[in-house]
Amino acid sequence: MEHFGSMLALAAPLGLGLAAVGSAYGIGRAVGSAMEAMGRQPEAAGKIQVAMIIGAAFIEALTIYVFIAYFVAMGKLG
């Protein structure tokens, strides 16, 4: 247990970084697919954009949750 603090200090920023990379990949894929769909069906662009925005907002929220978890972990470190 004595190394708990050091492990947490290493794991928290690492986890935050991984979450950021995952979110960036997710948003990139979502927007890329939405662009493709809009190119194929321009008349449905409005609906596709709304779905894309909601998806992007959810992915962004996940990163915010990880950021809050990071703050909690940092609070434990003191």
């Binding site: 954009q49 909601i54 907002a57």
Partner: protein
């Protein structure tokens, strides 16, 4: 008899969700404040408003950046500048404020998304986006 207005899952859906979130936040401020304390209610309210502004700017940015015709680069740049550095800096300061607990902030950040999810679930349960199939149309005829 008046016909009920048909609502669509367009940009107005997000604006309606934001309006609902605003009402919900006001209710939170009124009802959470006596039970959990003023700062808890204020933390939920601040995080909720931050999340609403974030979603609004996301919509504005997407609408400005992805549209047919000439792109207004200055508008896109201004929206991107407000959304990314300024708004995220404000979110960071919200998290850094000592009197605001992390759990109320988490609830506030999630509130607009919870509203969106509940609205979509209600649309699915009520079948508001269902289009009649050919068989159903034939049966009706």
């Amino acid at each position: 008899m008046t016909q009920p207005t048909k609502t669509t899952l367009g940009f107005d859906f997000i604006l309606r969700s934001l309006k609902t979130t605003g009402i919900l936040l006001l209710l939170c401020l009124v009802f959470v404040s006596p039970y959990a304390g003023f700062y808890t209610a204020l933390a939920i309210m601040s995080a909720g408003i931050w999340s609403m502004i974030n979603l609004y700017f996301l919509v504005a940015l997407v609408r400005a950046a992805i549209r047919p015709g000439q792109l207004d680069k200055i508008q896109v740049a201004v929206l991107a500048f407000v959304k990314f550095p300024l708004l995220y800096l404000a979110g960071y300061f919200l998290l850094k404020i000592e009197v605001f607990g992390l759990l109320p902030l988490l609830i506030g950040f999630s509130l607009p998304l919870a509203v969106v999810v509940l609205k979509v679930v209600s649309r699915v349960l009520l079948g508001m986006d269902n289009t009649p199939t050919n068989n159903q149309l034939n049966e009706a005829l």
